[in-house]
Subunit: 379 residues, 4 copies
């Protein structure tokens, strides 16, 4: 992808009102409903539980079906997620496209490992059920690249009802809103890539970065990003009071960042660190600018790029974002500092890895797909 | 300071045995003692308490005099530092050079703000008492630079007993061991600079860094580095579960790093972040190499540079340091990762900001000044 | 208060529909509004910020006026509470009953120290503005007792418009819902008392406790309960990794607990501890039962007492509550364990000190006062 | 055990100097050594690593042999315990009594599960090697009671060299110092029991407690007490910001507490809670006194009971202990509060569960067994 093909922010990203209304009422197998039923496969992991919890409060969602792939089918969700006790909660069901049709489910969230998503997507699409996949299975345009980084064979070119499968849309709403609105399959971005891309896209699109000097993305994440599976690395005693870098030069989120920015590996260093906090990602991103800039110019560039994008907050007057202000929200906060010479720029990007970095972003994608307001249920 | 003047690591940095023995026995005002009495001014701050606690266990220190500059004189130290209860603890005394002489104190640690250190150093040196100053007062060779960054008038060119004051030695033992051994006044380095310098000195000395591309130092510190004074920024509720960058392009440790590396401001970005941990600094340092290198070459460079330096641990085989392994120690752990192309290098440097970053390093300096083994009382 | 006067849970605690509608539309100085305007005095403290944040999302509240008593009047709330950035936020105003009338404010929350609440309540009541006071100023029926525990002179018997002031209602909705609905002035309970009372009221009302053996209430709270004022006790370094008991036999919440339970001091020990967490209270409460009971009997007692009370969750089957399931909610979770002999009972009570322990409970009181559903805006 | 058999504190608990010297030099299979070799079975768990780390710094221990029971034999200890890197560290060896004899090991610490300890103790004793067992295998005098609480068959009445096995001594040095000195097998107490017993023994021995009212022991522990095995309960995300009670009325440390205090189950409630900290136990212990007492009387009772016991610190003047002052030490700190009526007493007991609650106490036992000063290597 050459620099000139970097997608530009659109001025008109929302669908016209008429079309939105239609989509709202049409469900894949005919008939009409007033509000929407959705399903979440994998509702007990950290991202899945966040999805369920937010969807239950979403004003346009009438029904949330938790789909489990283990022995928990039939159990009430409140037993698995005690925090939600006291709400009217659905029962877990096993995975079955018939059952999803019966429950009038038009959109499914997959909060599953990539190998599972690869298996579940085709039957869902064949039933005309739209999918937001939170795994990495469909994020990269090159299946070879996917197989190299993830070590999983991709169903390259799988077919849906005898036809070639639709290409997944990379679900970063600030970049691809229009395509997401029409997509059958949305690949929800990784948490780190979301924080890095939102910080770099305005600068990259404007061509301000001195690529000969290179970009450094130093990213730090809370522990929920590592998943719920108990391992020594996530044992409280090993994390509390600790801090460490990990997976240097081999983090799987690397190719996703490079593809969306249209950059070669050599021009960027992306590193990840484990913070002793439950939730949140803060990325410190370093660039040298091609030309001297004033602080106000940088702020204007960001403001203009994110104008009309409700989930990105550009902080004013040199203020810097903090994890505490984005945790449990769907915002990505951006702040920056420019040196006196106007050449060295640090952009600080903050989000909740389970919010804008996973479940919140997935709902934002759903809102676009179903023609709701982009921020509906996310404030 | 041009690049060619970067100090090289010496092969023989320890004093010969004979001289060491002499120094051990000589105290400034004549007489001989078997072991040493030292004083700590400011024993109740986080660094001061750490100093006292470590000195009380030091096998060559017979007497630790806690010197206070407030209403606490006369109180037993255990009341101020309950953790030390149960040990035989000295009483706090007010600052007085006569009293220090009476107690046979030959070396004083100043764990005080720079404006206080500037005031206390001259009378101590006039009495022939050697000083390790933990503040920034004497770290920079240029007093103008000090005044610009700290906003405090420096006693530029103060005199001691009618003569020009001796120049302070920058107390990084891995760089200046010989000078430290002979110094009257040692300026203990900042915590961040220690972690950055130990990561970069081998590469800088060897000339491996592509300075045209720039160096990025992304540093993260625990909260004890911010001092004991209660402020909203250090309130538990504002720190726990939080993470943030601060003082971008205006952290006072910047000039100290540039001076010791012999670099201009433009070629380096140094940033600081606040970790929700009590102790520890982890610095992630990014350089592009001038020539392609193998991982083994990088490891050899570091091993060779730190050969015979007991307080730096170079991790083998791609292992990366973690805060948990250095906290409450005096070690600085170094690890690194090199990309497949052998050009992008990340060095990770870890230390305890109260250990190697303050009190431990001060004792290491004392050990050199008094002719003890460099690591005495520090393992 | 003898045992027989312990208030019983009412079966019909909500106002009839007609009356509710009337209250909704009437504002003190005449006129009608569709939805309600409220004000929060002290919006930047931890409880105040929680109030504002929850009220902004409350479906029946149209307008939230932040009232400050310092130099912050005129500043937008988002500057003081960055977490709320991105929402449409009101500007801070100074305290003025005229201004509150102009803004059609019918109810004011006081998130202020007791001495300030004592001063602000009379002018508000005189304007016919109803008050939920989060301080301790009006919680005790005996002003002597208040003065003894708080060391503040109470405006005993203040007058409102020439008449004797109305008696404040103790705002524990599970105990006094009907009185709260009609109250002009509600004293929002302390966080610890809420957790203790909800655990003990069913047992106390039923007369099951062997009072000759005594009750032990061992309570642990997160740090936000200590307020936002920076002090050494709340410094991150002093709290993180630490745990301690404090104010034994002299915590100010003691008389409030005794009064509501109708107990003498000798029959109960109430202690408080500081947890290294931001939010949440867990109270472990120990009683010896007068008669041997089965586990199922205890569970039934609690279920029956809290039937129709939406904000108390009685856990089934021996499950125990955890802070993580109540933090950021308005629930109080209750669980218990009974020994094999059926005599020794431990009740564990969990809530968010800023939720059910302060701001959430204040909104629950407001809901009752304004005739909304008790849990409106709280799920 | 009836009340009258409660062991009284001895006035002379240390062995006379001559005998101490002899024991120091005698090793089981003859010969003499100047200093001691010991082994640690299970050196990589949290308690085992703490043992190794402290023993390596112990001035009287010349050799620490780490014994592993898995694939780690032959690996240098520094690989398994990176924190110890930089020290001269021994290599791990497999379990073998021959090898222990070859290495002149006279005393072995078992930091192993009870079922493993039950298996390893007989062969060690047969070789004349003394054992400090950190598991619960030998803490209870009744093997039936052990089997009931632990669900493990006990080798009731195992033989050593054809003779009946020696009875293990309960290794609480403040209670059984003399017996420990002569013991072949010491059962190191549980962490919770140590904290509870040290708080209650003075009161129980003096007969001050009103047992008719009952005792409540509300205990809170850090996560390292739960072991290093990763489980969902110890996952960082499940612990951080959380707090909960667990194992009510069925914690395995219960019978140990009752036996050492000579109490029936009905007169005491013992509960345990999980603190979001790595290390430390704080127990809040509630008793009603039989007679009215003054604060000074209580303090005197404790001071007198712990006179000459270097590892218990009785806090003066109403000060209360805190975790932060005991973590990483071998102290147990005791403080208390008495109500104005002199009848309700709260004793607060604090220790490091890996220090005085496990590894430190084991070394204290070793010191007594080998005739060293009780606190040697522990300050």
């Amino acid at each position: 992808m050459s620099k000139s093909t970097i997608p530009k922010p659109r001025e008109k990203e929302f669908l016209p009102q008429r079309r939105r209304r239609q989509r709202e009422t049409a469900i894949p197998w005919g008939g009409t409903v007033k509000s929407y039923a959705v399903a979440v496969v994998g509702p007990t992991g950290y991202a899945g539980a966040e999805l369920v919890s937010r969807l239950l409060r979403h004003p346009r969602i009438s029904d949330v079906v938790p789909v489990v792939r283990d022995g928990n089918a039939g159990r009430p969700l409140a037993e698995l997620l005690p925090r939600l006790g006291g709400l009217a909660l659905p029962e877990c069901v096993p995975f079955s496209t018939e059952l999803l049709r019966e429950r009038s489910v038009g959109l499914v969230f997959l909060s599953t490992p990539p190998e599972v998503s690869l298996k579940l997507v085709p039957p869902l699409l064949e039933q005309g059920i739209r999918v937001v996949d939170l795994s990495a299975a469909f994020r990269l345009s090159s299946t070879e690249e996917f197989e190299r980084w993830y070590g999983i064979a991709h169903r390259n070119g799988f077919t849906v009802n005898g036809n070639h499968a639709p290409r997944a849309v990379y679900g970063l709403p600030e970049l691809h809103a229009r395509k997401i609105a029409d997509a059958q399959l949305v690949a929800n971005p990784g948490c780190y890539p979301t924080s890095v891309l939102l910080a770099l896209l305005p600068l990259r699109t404007a061509g301000w970065i001195d690529l000969d000097r290179g970009i450094v993305c130093d990213c730090k994440s809370g522990v929920s990003g590592a998943g719920k599976e108990p391992r020594l690395e996530t044992h409280f005693v090993e994390v509390e009071g600790n801090f460490r870098a990990y997976n240097l030069f081999r983090h799987r989120h690397t190719p996703e960042i490079l593809e969306q920015l249209g950059l070669e590996a050599e021009s960027l260093i992306f590193t990840t660190h484990l913070l002793p906090v439950r939730r949140g990602i803060l990325s410190s991103i370093y660039v040298w600018l091609r030309e001297r800039r004033e602080r106000q110019e940088v702020e204007s560039l960001f403001r203009s790029y994110y104008s009309g994008k409700p989930m990105v907050r550009v902080l004013a007057g040199g203020r810097l974002p903090e994890l505490q202000y984005v945790v449990e929200t769907n915002f990505c906060d951006l702040g920056f500092a420019l040196d006196a010479a106007g050449k060295r720029l640090v952009v600080v990007s903050c989000l909740d890895n389970l919010g804008k970095g996973a479940a919140g972003q997935a709902i934002q994608n759903m809102n676009l797909m179903l023609g709701f307001a982009e921020e509906e249920g996310l404030l």
